[in-house]
């Protein structure tokens, strides 16, 4: 029995389905990230898990027991968790009192309380703000107070809603460090984020939530390299998603007809199957002349656009179908990649991920 088990969970507000039949198991000590675009239902799901709201359908089992019980029982379960809301909210009180409140509500007082709070203040680096009103802190500091306040109660489950969404990069990395430290193997962490990289960095497993549906759950590696649907592929940054039909499958090497061009990939799908072939832009190599290599796919095309993205250049090519390739800016300069230039786009058959097209 998983630590937290979510069965057919749904929530409807004002006739709109925010969550549709979510099924999820989270084990004790796991760091799990919910990723998905804004409005996908991540906050709603976290609020349901924290028993702040009641689901419209389905149930949540916590440590094997159904949570749809009395207010008193739900409070008991909620006290084993802590939830950091997306918008850092601090009480209009000192930083010390803010961090102490969860422990006070659990009946702790005296020296024990003081010792614990002082430890936490040191941990989040806010010891010198002890007596300051928390309302006067910056957004990043307030979020650190919010996280310290949650960690203070030593929760078995720590829920974090977009913990770094509203923060500048420096504050965000400090907060991420705190989260990484809280994931000590004993605390179960469930966090939501729309930042894929953050999910990948912090979480062991990831669930992709789009439009109220949990589309895919798996290790972060699987999610990023083997997305199971177009929505997931798009969300995890696979920019090349090509419609095609399998024309041949020989010992799992398939040939897919993409608008008349043949793309080779590794897959189990048989002849006649409508599929999506996914190629990550960083897996596509560009060259000015046809190169002979072990890569099975090489297409001639014309550059449509080159856009600088930080240290990289995003090159859009038309080779019968549109392809996007990411190369370093330096490569782009040395090769003279520019609009109108003829290039060859090359990628390996193993770099292509094939998804069955939904009916």
């Amino acid at each position: 029995m998983a630590f937290i088990e979510i069965v057919n969970l749904g929530r409807t507000v004002g006739g709109r389905d925010i969550l549709k039949s979510i099924n999820l198991k989270v084990e004790r000590g796991e760091v799990f990230a919910l990723i998905g675009p804004t409005g996908a239902g991540k906050t709603t799901l976290l609020r349901l898990i924290d028993l702040l709201d009641a689901p419209t359908s389905g149930k949540i089992l916590f440590d094997g027991a159904d949570t749809a019980t009395s207010t008193q029982e739900r409070l008991k379960v909620r006290r084993r968790m802590a939830f950091v809301l997306q918008k850092p909210v601090v009480f209009n009180a000192t930083v010390y009192e803010n961090i102490a409140c969860g422990l006070k509500w659990r009946g702790l007082g005296g020296h024990e309380l003081q010792r614990k709070v002082d430890n936490l203040l040191d941990m989040v680096g806010l010891a010198e703000y002890r007596r300051r009103n928390a309302r006067t802190l910056s957004g990043g500091e307030a979020q650190r107070v919010a996280i310290a306040r949650a960690i203070a109660v030593a929760p078995e489950v720590l829920l974090l809603d977009e913990p770094t969404a509203n923060l500048d990069p420096v504050s965000a990395s400090r907060v991420q460090e705190l989260i990484a430290r809280a994931g000590d193997g004993k605390t179960t962490i469930i966090m939501s984020t729309h930042d894929m990289a953050q999910g990948q960095r912090l979480a062991g497993r990831i669930g992709v939530l789009v439009g109220g549906e949990l589309l895919q759950v798996g290790s972060s590696r699987d999610i990023f390299t083997l997305p199971r649907s177009r929505e997931v592929a798009e969300f995890v940054g696979v920019e090349n998603i090509l419609n095609g039909v399998v024309v041949m499958n020989e010992e799992r090497v398939v040939t897919v007809d993409v608008g008349g061009k043949m793309v080779e990939a590794i897959s189990d799908y048989g002849k006649g199957e409508a599929v999506l072939t996914c190629v990550r832009p960083e897996d596509i190599t560009l060259s000015l002349a046809r190169v002979s290599s072990s890569a099975r796919n090489s297409f001639a095309g014309e550059i449509v656009r080159v856009v600088a993205v930080g240290p990289l250049a995003r090159v859009e090519i038309d080779c019968g179908f549109a392809l996007v390739s990411l190369v370093t800016k330096r490569s782009a300069e040395e090769m003279g990649l520019a609009k109108g230039r003829q290039v060859y786009a090359t990628f390996k058959a193993t770099g292509v991920h094939v998804i069955k097209k939904d009916a």
């Binding site: 909620r78 809301l85 909210v89 009480f91 409140c101 969860g102 509500w105 659990r106």
Partner: protein, 228 residues
């Protein structure tokens, strides 16, 4: 014009010399209004919280009704209390009419709508996320309510000051149920109204200046709190 000047000078002299009668009336006014404000708050703050936190049918109606009574005429409350406590009234047995006690009771009723309404709107002004945060940190329903009330403490304080201001400045109720008995139920407002009609402008002006000073202090306090 000369009369007014002379009156003003005499009034200031009365205040500066701490004239016993002026001090006595001021003290009674303050003690009656402070008492009525605190006692009324004792009932209204919890009741306002209950109205805010518990969802019940006709809740919006109740709140509208409370707001309607913000500016209920003081003489109407005075009439009600008079009828209740007059010899033949249902509470006449207690013999409280024309005592400071019944003035306090009347003021409590008079300011209750202001206290209730401002408490409710103060609590409604607290960010919803505060209640969510408290619950998510393991607060029970009661602990959550306390946390929200704590957040609204400045709004509640402002409500207390507003209520006190209304209590100390009203005259209709005080004169109807207090009777303006010298040395017993005479307060600032009733004294001013009586002394003016008797032609003692000096005393009236002195008491008026004190009343305005109290109003000024109240407003300064209110501004300070609302800036938080």
């Amino acid at each position: 014009m000369e009369e007014l000047w002379y009156g003003l000078v005499r009034a200031v002299q009365l205040i500066v010399s701490l004239d016993p009668e002026v001090m006595e009336i001021t003290g009674r006014s303050l003690s009656i209004s402070v008492t009525s404000t605190l006692l009324s708050a004792l009932f209204c703050l919890p009741l306002g919280s209950v109205i805010h936190f518990y969802r019940f049918p006709a809740r919006r109606m109740v709140i509208s009704l409370i707001q309607t009574f913000y500016s209920v005429p003081t003489v109407v409350v005075g009439l009600l209390v008079f009828v209740l406590f007059s010899r033949a009234g249902p509470l006449g047995e207690m013999g409280l009419l024309f005592t400071p006690t019944v003035m306090i009771i009347g003021q409590m009723l008079l300011i209750a709508p202001v206290l209730l309404g401002l408490t409710i709107s103060g609590l409604s002004g607290v960010d919803r996320a505060i209640a969510d945060t408290a619950r998510s940190l393991g607060a029970s329903a009661f602990q959550t309510a306390v946390a929200v009330i704590r957040e609204a403490r400045f709004a509640v304080m402002a409500a207390l000051i507003m209520a006190f201001g209304r209590a100390i400045s009203e005259v209709g109720l005080a004169i109807m149920v207090g009777g303006n008995i010298r040395g017993f139920t005479r307060v600032l407002t009733t004294a001013i109204s009586l002394e003016t009609s008797k032609g003692d402008i000096e005393l009236s002006l002195a008491l008026g200046i004190i009343l305005v000073a109290i109003a000024l202090i109240i407003n300064l306090a209110l501004n300070r709190i609302q800036q938080r």
